[in-house]
Symmetry: C2
Subunit: 642 residues, 2 copies
């Protein structure tokens, strides 16, 4: 790893601020989303999602739980699940990124009120949880596997870190330090040797160490990390892999068990590795992520195929119609990829982030920002029921975004990601400026050597592939502007002031007003699954730039369960995205496993396609990402060699 | 329906005794398993499974819960889940069928002790449940959705019915009547309008009505049935379909939601229809079963594809590697098919029973009868961990049979089925004797007109397809011996004393000593999936007679995740069952969704096959039923017509 020089306030408002790494993240004063896809999402997040989440948390008593605890009425009438505290913390974190960037005074006041409410519930020794430890409640740490106590305090810490980096929520940092001190005491080398069933405290403690400079928090995070994987949590029917407690972090080769648990743990492991200079640990976790991407990840970047235990399945168990792909796992995968990107500078992690953002995060949240998917199926076979009532709990994965859920981890998780998303667009490395995500943005920062440079990025991406970057400020001497080249774009067209450049990595002396243009090939392409993914054998998908496309049938008029596509014919773009294929009319037999069967009659059709993230936005629909192919062999497949 | 004349004691020991129907079931005095596959299973059930289950229920305190309740210590130290009472009842039922048939006095004494323990826990008003209603417990019926109170009392009633039909467990019938009277009072037309979250009480009340002649119980069962489907149970995240409470029984077209719940409810509906002469209701439920078989059933006859809610999925959602196919759903499907067989006389139901018996029930239970699968996957991708400890809860569907589980509904369910399985072999109809299952058995019964006939059936089925039936007793005049012709055997060879018969339905005057021989074609055959079953697109299975075969690799030496088979080459039988195919060596790519990919190198191999029910019996193994095919088109498929 190459250390980068960092000035403290340059990263103000940045969600993750490692003290080491190839890349330096930019703070909210350095990069701003100005227009286009993500600027719009961030706007909806601010104006709609944050108030929506706050309204629901008030309505359901999750905030009142803190007030009750402060009044010493803890446990009298507590509402919500044992992890509801964490949702309030996530919301405060999201509001802090937002308020820090936009300097909204109303928001700042709201945050302060929430922070004081939360801090008021803290026990004198620093412990803070509304569901344990009160006179009428289960004792502290009596259920490490399922109690989510350290998990919740982890999110408290993250909210405090966000507050510290944005000048918000002044009451939270002392509360978080006090909680962290309590945890170091209670779970330190001579304390309770346990770990929390749901990892999260690890990454939170490292971030708190970064903010406070306190080694103690980093040490405790490292201790939690080393304790894990030794089967110390009580066994239940999900097994110890569910908790990533089956194999020590340093010995595992792939993520397994509960996807969000595994991914949060990995984030903490990267954070510890980066802060302690543990290159071996960093490499181990990167290897686990690699293997997970290679064999346990959906085309969308979604992770976790099991509904029952919200877990990764075995390698290549990736059913489309039972995809779980929890929204939070998408957020967590992006968090991990971001950490690995900062640590290594490898742009393939930025591509993972882009895939998850456009195909999981953008899918999960509704246009109005006020409802969300918890699970993200890749195949909706039947029309969901219309008009769910607000009080009715929707079936997870039932094809409808829900305004809220009893378990509503996903919405505030998206909210905090979107509120800080501007920071994920670009970084600074030793040679200059790196652009990781293509979005309308203003970037104004200092290079590693202190020179101040600024660029304005304009683009309709991903609606088209043209990205224009105007140098609006520069300094004498050359520096490098490095643009990410996606793996799906083997050839990209880069020009500087109209002159072709052989590379997307431009090292030169820039002048104010220079215009760099990148053209990415936005042509729909067929994608084939690894032959070991049984559930989508014989299918193809269509992608367009960073977007996974899907066939959608609003109202279910076209039965997508009985179509096949012809990958020999290129997808059409004129008159709307589509593929050519056929509709079959299979006979309903009394038993669906015949010894031999006549081919069902087929009629040629065109199947309209749409970006996956757009599905189910205009009423109930059926949808599928993977389409059965008439010819299933990829172009270069030459058949069986015997 | 045609009413059949029945003498009361002829059906003694028969598990289900409708007062109407095309077929009359035979009692334990009329049909006995003598040798072969099912006689051995019944023997292991008697000598090993019953004592094993009793040992575990004692060890876990499930029986002690009753003693505590009797001592007015109910709820002080109750152990087990809220449905543990039902397991004790199921065990008593199993022991009763067993003791009734074998006249074992030790077993009879054991049953009496258990029956007295159970009956001692009953409240004065008839209510009996060890988890509710005590001074330290939740009030009666305070959680109809999840409390399993009526469910448990339903199994109490079934145990009492078994006792009454076998002369066992004398204490139970009064207890069951008292419980049923309480239920009729509490939930009658002017009582609590609720229903139990888990159906079971419906079929139990009808069986009790059959045993006692009390119309009241039948009326109450019918009332519960009519109340269901009106969304009266509180909604939770599984939705009302989970409880079959989304659509009234008479309006539904297919089984949905929790598979065991749906199937038990359907059994109760058939029982009510039969006893009330409601042909329309009978036809409705038969239609639901038809559609479920056509689109929501695994090749094995297993039902329920969701792990999370143990439910049927949408039509054609039948993933092999995430098959749930709960053992209890198999038992329940067989129970339903048996009821429909008796009511209609249609032998296709007997074929469903055979499929479930050989491929779900026989699979679930270990050779020693002391461990079982809860879920029955059709594809085990990875080697399960070896040597689970007895105290360790195994992951459901993790490829290992477990000695016991916290939720151990399946083992006693199999036990009661096997203990009474002899009754499922043959029936009597208006014309004579019907043979439904091919197994070594002695049958000695009276025809509908009172003539006494007896036959001895000898066979190694399904090891081979030869079934010999010797007439050992007959009476003057013709009668019909009707042998079931399986749908997979379009041509069967039937001879009477060596003379070919054109039909498997023999109407003639038989003489003592007549030998009827049936030869079923036992040649392995390829089976293809309906093209709408996405998860097994491009795969074939191999079946042999009633047996689903699987490829199994003990120790995982052959990687079954990377083989393909060639359905153009017939499966081999010499030197062991096998298919020819190839092994591929796919390249591990960093991302498993390439735009184009070279064909992996393949080498020809032979893939050994074994009956699915034999898998995982000699140590950890990997296994798959559905095999990717080199050529995926069924023989008669002539390709795309455009």
């Amino acid at each position: 790893m190459t250390a980068t020089t960092q000035t403290p306030d340059s990263t103000a408002g940045a969600p993750v601020v490692p003290s080491n790494g190839v890349l330096r993240p930019l703070g909210s004063g350095e990069v701003r989303l100005t227009e286009g896809f993500w600027a719009r999402r961030q706007q909806v997040n601010r104006t709609a999602t944050l108030p929506h989440a706050l309204r629901w948390m008030r309505k359901l008593g999750w905030i009142d739980n803190f007030s009750q605890a402060a009044e010493d009425r803890r446990g009298v009438d507590r509402r919500g699940r044992e992890f509801s505290d964490s949702e309030v913390y996530k919301l405060i974190e999201a509001m802090s990124w937002e308020a820090g960037r936009t300097r909204g005074e109303d928001l700042a006041r709201e945050i302060d009120l929430l922070a004081k409410t939360v801090a008021g519930a803290q026990d004198r020794d620093g412990y803070l949880h509304t569901a344990f430890g009160g006179p009428r409640q289960r004792p502290r740490y009596s259920d490490l596997a399922w109690g989510h106590e350290l998990y919740c305090m982890g999110f408290l810490i993250q909210a405090a870190v966000a507050g510290a980096r944005t000048g918000q929520a002044a009451a939270l940092l002392p509360a978080a330090r006090s909680a962290a001190d309590h945890i170091c005491e209670a779970f330190g080398p001579r304390g309770n040797p346990g770990i929390c069933g749901h990892p999260e405290i690890e990454l939170a403690l490292v971030e708190l160490a970064r903010v406070t400079g306190s080694q103690r928090y980093l040490d405790q995070a490292a201790l939690f990390l080393e304790r894990r994987g030794r089967r110390s949590l009580p066994l239940d029917h999900f097994g110890s892999a569910y908790f990533s407690d089956d194999i020590p972090v340093r010995e595992a080769t792939v993520f397994r068990g509960h996807a969000v648990r595994a991914l949060y743990l990995a984030c903490g492991a990267v954070d510890v590795a980066v802060e302690t200079g543990d290159a071996e640990l960093l490499q181990t976790v990167a290897g686990q992520f690699d293997r997970t991407l290679a064999s346990r990840t959906y085309l969308t970047g979604g992770m976790g195929s099991h509904h029952a235990d919200e877990s990764f399945g075995d390698d290549f168990v990736l059913p489309a119609d039972r995809a779980y792909s929890e929204t939070c796992a998408g957020v967590a995968a992006a968090m991990l990829a971001w950490r690995l990107l900062l640590a290594t500078g490898e742009d393939r992690y930025a591509e993972v982030i882009e895939r998850v953002l456009f195909n999981v995060v953008a899918t999960a949240i509704s246009d109005d920002g006020q409802s969300f998917f918890y699970a993200n199926t890749l195949h909706q076979r039947t029309l969901p029921r219309t008009a769910p009532t607000e009080s009715e709990e929707l079936t997870v994965g039932g094809g409808q975004r829900a305004a809220w859920r009893e378990v509503s981890c996903c919405l505030p998780n998206i909210a905090r990601l979107l509120a800080g998303l501007n920071s994920w667009v670009a970084t600074v490395d030793d040679a200059g400026l790196r652009i990781h995500q293509y979005a309308g943005a203003d970037i104004d920062t200092r290079l590693a050597d202190g020179r101040r440079v600024a660029v304005r990025m304009s683009t309709n991406y991903p609606d088209d592939g043209v990205v224009q970057i105007r140098v609006t400020k520069t300094a004498p001497g050359p520096w490098r502007l490095k643009l990410r080249r996606p793996s799906w774009a083997p050839l990209v067209n880069v020009t500087v002031n109209g002159e072709p450049s052989p590379s997307a990595s431009l090292y030169r002396e820039f002048a104010t007003g220079d215009l760099i243009t990148l053209e990415l090939p936005m042509k729909p392409r067929f994608t084939y699954p690894d032959p070991r993914i049984d559930a989508i054998r014989g299918c193809v998908a269509v992608e367009l730039g960073p977007l996974v496309l899907c066939a959608e049938s609003p109202g279910g008029e076209l039965d997508l369960n009985t179509v096949t596509v012809d990958p020999a014919t290129e997808p059409g773009v004129a008159g709307g995205l589509s593929v050519s294929g056929s509709a079959m009319n299979p006979t309903d037999e009394p038993w669906p496993y015949p010894v031999a069967t006549p081919a069902p009659a087929r009629a040629p059709i065109r199947i309209p396609l749409t970006p996956y993230h757009r599905w189910a936005r205009s009423g109930p629909s059926i949808m599928r990402v993977w389409l059965p192919a008439q010819e299933t062999r990829p172009p270069m497949d030459q058949g069986v060699e015997q």
